[in-house]
Structure formats: C-alpha cells, structure tokens
C-alpha cells in the first residue's frame, strides 16, 4: 500500500476494560500497584474506583497499529504514548490515527489516538514505521 500524509488509519474498537482484566494484567506485567486493584486505595488517591493501567491502553494502540501495518509487511521501530486521561473498568477504547509524514524512501511517522466511549482522548502518541522491504534492503 502506498501511504500519503494525512491519510487516516483504520479505527479499531477494543473490548471494554474489566476488573478481572486488571487483576490478570497486574499478574502478567508485574505491575501490582493497588491503584489498579483496590477501590479504597484508588479513592484515597481521588479516583472514583480502580484505574486502568496506562500500559493496557498502550497495548491496545500497539495492536490496532497492526491493522494498518501488518507484521508481514511492516516493522514498527518506535512507539510512544502519552497518557492523557485515566480510564476505568467499563471504558471501551477506539484506536485510530493518521499518517503524519512519509519520507522519500517510504518510512512513515504515524500519529495515534485512543478515545473512550465519550469520545475523550485517553492516550495519544506516535509510531515510526518502516516497510519490511526497506528493512531488508
């Protein structure tokens, strides 16, 4: 596929976060911060309930990137994310983005966003993407 600047990526809807998922993610990631697991700790910190690990939102962004840039054809060289807003269990993210820059050789800089069901930006970021053909050249 030949990309051009400003071209939109396919928007991907991810499943809503669940409390069970946060517990499981804490186990597999080693991030057992109680703010993600215990309502009373989250409330002490001023949140209405436990909050979703930012890295889960980033993982959603990463996976959605592959819809437009499948592993067989592209290599992701860099992925950065800013966590703009806290997400809670029950929130469902949609992930999208657009092409920011295309180099003469075909390397891409892509801007990314993840929005909740209220259309609020939860996270945004950027990725550097290179076609495999250029990696192997």
């Amino acid at each position: 596929m030949r990309w051009r600047a400003q071209q939109e990526l396919t928007v991907v809807k991810k499943p809503a976060f669940t409390r069970e998922q946060l517990k499981e993610y804490a186990k597999v990631s080693g991030d057992g911060n109680l703010i993600h697991l215990d309502d009373s700790v989250a409330k002490q910190m001023g949140f209405p309930s436990v909050i979703v690990h930012g890295m889960l939102s980033m993982a959603y962004l990463a996976d959605s990137l592959l819809v437009s840039f499948p592993e067989k054809e592209y290599r992701i060289l860099r992925l950065s994310t800013r966590f703009r807003r806290v997400a809670f269990p029950g929130d469902a993210l949609s992930c999208g983005g657009k092409i920011k820059k295309v180099s003469d050789s075909g390397e891409l800089v892509v801007s990314l966003w993840a929005k909740n069901q209220r259309d609020e930006i939860v996270a945004d970021g950027e990725a550097d993407v290179k076609p495999i053909a250029l990696v192997n050249a």
């Binding site: 990631s29 991030d31 910190m45 959603y60 990463a62 996976d63």
Partner: protein, 130 residues
C-alpha cells in the same frame, strides 16, 4: 523525599527469560490479537526493576501516575532468552503547587540480550505528594 536520587544514576539488574506461555498470557490479557511474533509492549514485563528502584527511593507506588511511555525497537525481542536491564535516571524535576509537591521522574531502561540492546524504554512517572 527524592533528595538521594541523582540524574544519570545507573542501575543494572539481571532480567529473566520470558516463556512462550507467559507471552501468550500477556497477549491474551492485552487483547493483542494481531501479533504473530511478540506483542510490542511485552517488554513491560521486564521493567520490574524500575518499580523496585522507585520503592527503594521510598516512592509510594499508589502515588505514582504513569504519564508517558516510549519503546524503541532495535533488535527482535527474544522470548526464552535471559536479559539484562540497564536503567538510567534521565531526569528528575520537582515542583510545589496548590496540591503539594509533584515530582516528574524519567527513567530509561535498555533491555539487552547477549549484550545487544533489543528495546529501549523511556518512562515518565509523576509522583504526587512527594
């Protein structure tokens, strides 16, 4: 509270091997359905030394907010291979406002397999009430 932290301070920790089962569990819980190799954020599971370090400098992890994350991929991530994690304090800023003191800490972790850097992670944490 973070007086003992020095910008440029480096910590090295022995990593561990990530099993195929662990990788699959990570992919499942993050709904990383499209990866045929390794989920891009899998390196997160090797960043425990960052949290150990933060606890070591007396940061209450409940006060910690993760504000930014960057992964740079230099070489294929190797599941099953033991890693070395080299973490550097890139930046530390503290400021005091209406809600007390806030510290912004930037940690860079290089994840090496057999001496070769595979992933470079840059993490920005905000510590409230520090």
């Amino acid at each position: 509270m973070l007086e003992q932290v020095r910008i440029g301070e480096v910590m090295e920790s022995q990593g561990r091997a990530i099993s195929r089962e662990e990788m699959e569990a990570f992919a499942r819980v993050t709904h990383s359905d499209r990866f045929t190799s390794v989920p891009l954020t899998l390196a997160t599971v090797l960043r425990k030394p960052e949290f150990d370090w933060l606890a070591g400098v007396k940061v209450n992890l409940a006060n910690l907010l993760h504000t930014e994350q960057e992964y740079e991929y230099r070489a294929p991530f190797r599941s099953g291979a033991t890693s070395l994690i080299r973490t550097t304090v890139e930046d530390l800023k503290e400021r005091t406002g209406k809600q007390g003191t806030i510290a912004i800490i930037v940690l860079k972790s290089e994840i090496l397999f057999n001496g070769e850097i595979s992933v470079v992670s840059k993490t920005t944490f905000m510590v409230r009430g520090s």
